[in-house]
């Protein structure tokens, strides 16, 4: 189009267009709810109303035959034990219950605030075995790894969701303080130099967990009243879940039964 002509017309056009064209609408800015960078702090737990869950891990079926660990490749390990050492996974207590079952609140506690405990959880390497065999920490809680052995170990957790690391600990070396940033059930831990050594670390978002002992019982304290799903994890016999409702200050019993 001829430009001069166009300019001429545009004067008329502007008048006409006054009717036809609504003025440019000021674009409304769509206000998106800004995602809060930090997670909601959660409700603080009222310590006056918390309850407790206790229970027993029973076992039915044939007891697995536990293999003897041969520590021959490191005399330092051999010397620490006077009797043969058996593999811990698959162990059944004398009374027919299971030790080393990790019981934790799988669901139902996320609405509360669970500040990271300041005290550390200790994992010892003694006689080329981890003590304890199953251990729980809260997210970001310190795991204090020490060695009571006169040989070099390396601590090698093999997580799925956390970052993997593998660090050497020579005899007399300072303890390793480590934290895990993400909850994970369970992280196996090994020592590459003593391949029989095995521990499991349960990392949870709250301190509501327990490991069954040599009598097969466990106690989880400090549960605010509410509905929960409890998870129970055994290295050999799988995992289970149970729902439980805890009333204020109530002591509930939840038993788990694993089959061989």
């Amino acid at each position: 189009m001829n430009k001069k002509l166009m300019i001429g017309f545009s004067i008329i056009a502007t008048t006409i267009l006054m009717f036809g064209c609504s003025s440019e609408k000021a674009p409304e800015t769509t206000e998106q709810p800004a995602a809060t960078a930090t997670a909601p702090a959660g409700t603080p737990v009222d310590q006056a109303t918390v309850g407790t869950v206790t229970g027993k891990i029973t076992f039915t079926g044939a007891k697995p035959k536990l293999a003897v660990i041969h520590m021959d490749q490191d005399p330092v390990c051999v010397a620490k034990h006077k009797s043969p050492v058996h593999v811990e996974d698959g162990e059944v207590n004398e009374n027919g219950t299971l030790p080393n079952v990790f019981v934790y609140v799988k669901d139902g506690a996320d609405k509360y605030a669970w500040p990271t405990p300041t005290e550390a959880v200790t994992l010892d390497q003694n006689g080329c075995m981890y003590q304890p065999h199953v251990v729980g920490v809260q997210v970001d809680q310190t795991l204090h790894i020490v060695s009571s052995d006169a040989t070099t170990h390396n601590i090698h957790p093999q997580p799925k969701d956390n970052r993997e690391w593998n660090e050497s600990q020579a005899p007399g070396a300072p303890a390793l303080d480590k934290t895990f940033a993400r909850s994970e059930i369970m992280i196996p831990v090994k020592c590459n130099q003593h391949p029989w050594m095995r521990a499991y670390i349960g990392v949870t978002k709250n301190p509501l967990f327990a490991v069954s002992g040599s009598d097969g019982t466990f106690t989880i304290k400090g549960l605010p009243p509410g509905d929960y799903t409890l998870g129970a994890w055994s290295a050999t016999f799988g995992t289970q879940e149970q729902k439980v409702t805890v009333a204020p200050k109530e002591s509930k019993t939840v038993d788990f039964s694993f089959k061989g």
Binding site: P27, T30, P75, T152, H156, S168, P188
Partner: protein, 1074 residues
């Protein structure tokens, strides 16, 4: 009064009404055209205005947020400490600075005073010199010179506070000025030195803010805001003349390379249609590599870059534009035109998959594609050259003989000499040809080593397969084995009988050596741990475990002869008979016998035809490598596989197999369907590819693509496009035969690669499983991108440096499925890594090594040897040369030297290592250092020998790491040092622990207690160990294990008492062993 004229019937009628209407029409059309001019045809203006508003409001929200973040950082103790440093430095410098400034000011005053006089006097002196110089010699000149000298003596008086009437000669003035300048320079230098600490502290402060602030700073954001608010509403254009690119895409896609992440949510929300145009480019890293100012938009994305009239036109989605914007699902097609030489294209996983599928699925069996599977063509060319040169040589020799004869009977000596010279020239020429022929034969051998077929050798069908299975398989391979690569040819019963009969009757007839049954339990363990599952799977349906690269072996026992299966597992490359490409037939024992030679056995060193001396095909053309298993283990695995078959499977007898009347018809059909593209078939070794070449298939104009009777339907259903054609063709090739009047021979031959899961058809597409749809989409992406590029070649990715080696290497990595076992890049899991067995801590250590930094780790010469012979031995082959402790085995691939070279260069290039590699000379250990290294190696605190193999069988039972003896030849010292300092940095998840060393006084020191001999040693202990490792010899290692045993024994006795002797210790056994 005159009569009123007769009323003109035309004039008399008022036309005002029409004019009004016409005027309105005119105004309407005018305003319409103006509207169109300014708005209708310029939709981008609206986009630009809206973008500017939205972007500005986004930035306005972002700026306070970022200011807050900056404030938070500024309030952090670290920042404030740094800030204090700046202030302290400033304060510390202040008094000196003030002094210097005062001094400078004083000097400046003096300079000004001097300069005021000096400038004038210089001019005057200058003019006097000029006048004197231009006066001829004589008294006049002398007088002038005298005047000059007198003038220069001055005196010149300087006034002002600093000089207070002091007088100077001209020279003194000049000197005074120079001195003052020097003094000022010194002061300035002093000032710089004083300001330096402050400047450095301020730099640290800025760096701290930059390192801790996520995203752009508030100041940068304000800059962007200013840009957005003052943005001119105009067409934004990229113009690249040599590529013919004029792209105005950014007139609407305004945020595509803004440094702030723009999403639909923060740019107007999902409901605003414009917000889709305003987002950031989804792969900013990719955009950084391909700067739009240099590459434009449409070369990668297609569409009509010049058009801005409407969205559809800009995207090229209209009838008159041939190359519309790539569909979102096929966007990566655009990478292909410049990345045709790559097998693996970073940032384009779908295209990469498409490229791999073309090879893996066997498309290249029928379709030529530049860059793929070039060996057969190269071999044909090579063979022709050989034949031609042989003729040439024969001619030369014959002519030479003629010349000699002529010379013998020549009339005179001169002629004879000339004849003999000619003969010699011909003989020398023929010897040159002979040498060239040798080279061509070597080339043929290497090409044959690299030549692979997608499917198995059907000449072996009689020794391998049970006859009744063949028709079942041909009918529908997917029905028998759903995961197979073999497509379904639409064969009727006659076809099947004919084809089966030909294959059966032409196959090699021989009896394989009989194999005793093996142990299936052991075989299962071997199958699951030797690495078979990196490629193969077992189990059907949901129970399937293992790799996808090779066949699912669940039903192999139903079809394979056990004896053959054992031979195959023992060495899949073994062939019953070699094939001579010159005689065009299989060579039998008779042929060897004729020449007094023993019968053929699998051997890559004796590959020449006994009859004509040419290179023969002596290997099966399978990519399956030789795992170097014992015959026993091969029998165990075969026996295990036999147990997986369906117990109730029955196959009808196939008597037609031996009907000689069917054979000829079968041959025709095999040729028709192009079976020899993927299989070796008797009499069809030289068959070419029967399909159309696909290298530039995406460039074919749509009109030339045969939609058959589907054009109307495709247009209605919106799949009349390259994408639509490829997808339908791949999903159901025979659909384009529908309704066409064709003879059987004219029907489309392309077989069905995918089976629908139901009979439902949507827009012509059969109902396919999601995994199949994905493959079709990936292949479509690749084919759409396979075009004759219109972009100048300089844009193509054809690197001449190390990146070329990376490019070449990936073809081989994909060809042999190295990724089944190995990891090459972080995030790329091998098949084995994801298999359930390898999830436990025990089995994770049994995974094949990661190859993330392989080029930096190993000496390329060693790597070449290892790749050729992973057992690292010619006699003891049932083992892994580097990691004998692994159950999984690095197999022998019988790589051709060409392939070995490519792989070695690939690894070096992947780690940016220069080629060739020159090993650095390490300082030899002093006797004391040797003793120290030994002490450290054998100390309890240093765990080296707990995991690393020593070659002693008892010890190596527990070994989980390679023998140090390999280090000098295999490793690079620099890498080794990095490795022992922090192995997890190099190979995440490795069994080798970190934290073995700590830093002390700038040196690496062993983290555990060191033996007493280390007291006072100031050297780097990591270096010491590396130097020791590169000196280690078998004798030294024996000494070491002995020492280690002693130290262990002593410890045990000393610390733990006699109880320790209750068990035999490993080290005790070691001592006995030596």
């Amino acid at each position: 009064m005159p009569d009123a004229p007769e009323k003109d019937p035309i004039v008399g009628r008022s036309l005002a009404g029409y004019f009004v209407i016409a005027a309105f029409l005119l105004i309407f059309s005018l305003s319409w055209s103006l509207y169109d001019e300014f708005f209708g045809l310029r939709p981008w203006k609206g986009y630009e205005r809206r973008f500017a508003t939205l972007y500005a409001s986004l930035l306005k929200k972002e700026i306070p947020r970022q200011e807050k973040a900056e404030k938070a950082i500024e309030n952090s103790p670290d920042y404030q400490a740094l800030e204090k440093q700046v202030k302290d430095a400033h304060d510390a410098a202040a008094p000196q600075l003030t002094q210097i400034h005062e001094q400078t000011a004083a000097i400046d005053g003096k300079i000004a005073a001097v300069l005021g006089t000096l400038t004038n006097e210089r001019a005057r002196v200058g003019s006097m010199i000029y006048v004197a110089e231009h006066t001829p010699d004589g008294p006049g000149r002398t007088s002038l010179e005298h005047n000059l000298d007198m003038y220069k003596k001055g005196p010149f008086t300087l006034n002002g506070p600093s000089f207070a009437g002091k007088t100077f000669t001209f020279e003194e003035l000049e000197n005074e000025f120079a001195n003052l300048q020097t003094e000022k320079g010194k002061l300035q230098q002093q000032e710089g030195d004083i300001l330096k600490p402050q400047g450095e502290a301020a730099k640290k402060l800025r760096a701290y803010l930059h390192d801790h602030l996520n995203g752009l700073s508030a100041e940068q954001l304000r800059g962007l805001l200013n840009k957005a608010e003052t943005m001119a509403i105009e067409i934004k254009q990229i113009n690249i003349p040599d590529a013919g690119v004029v792209d105005r895409c950014e007139s609407c896609h305004l945020g595509i390379r803004e440094p702030v992440l723009l999403t639909r949510q923060n740019m107007g929300g999902d409901k605003d249609p414009m917000s889709a145009a305003f987002t950031s480019h989804p792969d900013m890293e990719l955009l950084q590599i391909h700067d739009p100012d240099k590459y434009g938009c449409t070369p990668c994305h297609n569409g009509n870059g010049m058009q801005v009239d409407s969205v559809a036109m800009g995207h090229g989605e209209y009838e008159h534009w041939l190359w519309p914007l790539y569909h979102k699902a096929n966007m990566q097609a655009g990478c292909q035109q410049c990345h045709a030489s790559d097998m693996v294209v970073d940032h384009a996983p779908e295209l990469t998959e498409g490229k791999r599928l073309l090879q893996w699925k066997g498309c290249i069996g029928c379709h030529r594609f530049q860059g793929y599977d070039s060996e057969p063509e190269d071999l044909v060319a090579n063979q022709q050259q050989i034949l031609q040169m042989e003729t040439e040589r024969a001619d030369d020799l014959r002519n030479a003989q003629r010349d000699i004869d002529a010379g013998d009977h020549a009339a005179d000596n001169a002629t004879a000499r000339q004849d003999y010279t000619d003969a010699d020239a011909l003989r020398v020429a023929s010897s040159k040809v002979s040498m060239q022929l040798d080279q061509l034969e070597v080339k043929a051998k290497y090409l044959m080593m690299g030549r692979k077929k997608v499917g198995p050798d059907l000449k072996e069908v009689r020794v391998k397969i049970r006859p009744e299975w063949i028709p079942v398989w041909l009918k529908n391979p997917h029905a028998w084995r759903p995961t197979t690569k073999m497509p379904r040819f639409r064969l009727d019963d006659d076809d099947i009988e004919d084809i089966s009969a030909y294959l059966w009757q032409t196959a090699i007839q021989t009896t394989l050596s009989h194999q005793a049954p093996g142990d299936p339990v052991k075989g299962k363990e071997s199958f699951e741990t030797r690495g078979c599952m990196g490629c193969h799977s077992v189990g059907e349906g949901a129970n399937q475990v293992g790799g996808w690269f090779a066949a699912n072996l669940t039903r192999v026992g139903e079809k394979d002869n056990y004896d053959f299966l054992v031979r195959w597992i023992h060495n899949p490359r073994e062939r019953t008979r070699p094939y001579c490409p010159f005689e065009k037939r299989d060579i039998t024992d008779e042929d060897y016998k004729k020449h007094g030679l023993p019968p053929y056995t699998f051997d890559l060193n004796h590959t020449k035809c006994p009859n004509d001396g040419h290179e023969m095909v002596v290997e099966q053309m399978t990519v399956m490598p030789n795992l170097r298993l014992s015959w026993d283990e091969a029998r165990d695995i075969a026996s295990y596989l036999e147990t997986l078959k369906r117990p109730d499977a029955t196959y009808a007898a196939a008597p037609f197999m031996n009907n000689p009347k069917l054979k000829e018809e079968g041959k025709k059909k095999i040729r028709f369907y192009g079976c020899a593209g993927c299989h070796e078939i008797e009499g069809m070794e030289d068959e070419g590819r029967i399909g159309t070449e696909l290298t530039a298939e995406g460039s074919k104009p749509l009109e030339q693509i045969d939609f058959a009777l589907y054009i109307r339907e495709a247009k209605n259903e919106d799949w009349y496009s390259h994408k639509g054609f490829f997808e339908h063709k791949l999903a159901k090739p025979e659909m384009y035969d529908k309704g066409m009047i064709k003879t059987e021979a004219e029907e489309l031959k392309m077989p069905d690669f995918f089976e629908p899961v139901s009979s439902k058809v949507t827009e012509g597409m059969p109902d396919l499983a999601p995994a199949d749809q994905k493959q079709i989409s990936e292949l479509t992406t690749f084919l759409m991108g396979s075009v004759t590029s219109e972009i100048p070649q300089r844009y193509w990715y054809l690197p001449a440096d190390q990146r070329r080696d990376v490019q070449d290497g990936w073809w081989l990595v994909k060809k042999y499925n190295c990724e089944g076992c190995h990891q090459f890049k972080v995030g790329q899991d091998s098949v084995l890594m994801d298999i359930p067995r390898y999830q436990t801590p025990e089995w994770k250590d049994q995974l094949p090594p990661k190859l993330l930094t392989e080029g930096a780790r190993v000496n390329p010469e060693w790597l070449a040897k290892f790749l050729s012979n992973p057992a690292m031995s010619d006699t003891d082959t049932d083992r892994d040369g580097v990691r004998p402790y692994l159950k999984v085995r690095m197999p022998t691939f019988y790589f051709s030297p060409i392939e070995v070279r490519k792989l070695v260069r690939f690894f070096q290039a992947m780690s940016s290592q220069p080629m060739p590699y020159i090993s650095p000379r390490l300082d030899p250990l002093t006797p004391k250092e040797l003793e120290m290294a030994r002490a450290l190696f054998t100390s309890r605190a240093a765990p080296c020998l707990k995991c690393h193999a020593t070659g002693d069988a008892t010890h190596d039972k527990f070994a989980t790491a390679p023998n140090f003896l390999l280090a000098p030849e295999r490793l690079k010292p620099d890498w080794t040092k990095h490795w022992i300092l922090d192995p997890a940095m190099i190979s995440p998840g490795t069994a080798m622990p970190s934290g073995l060393f700590k830093t002390q006084d700038g040196h690496n020191v062993f983290a555990g207690p060191t033996p007493p001999i280390f007291n006072g040693y100031t050297g780097d202990q990591a270096d010491l160990l590396v130097r020791y490792m590169f000196e280690i010899t078998p004798e030294e290692q024996r000494k070491l294990t002995g020492l280690s045993a002693n130290s262990m024994k002593q410890t045990t006795e000393k610390q733990e008492g006699p109880n320790a002797h209750a068990r035999p210790t490993l080290i005790g056994m070691l001592v006995k062993a030596h």
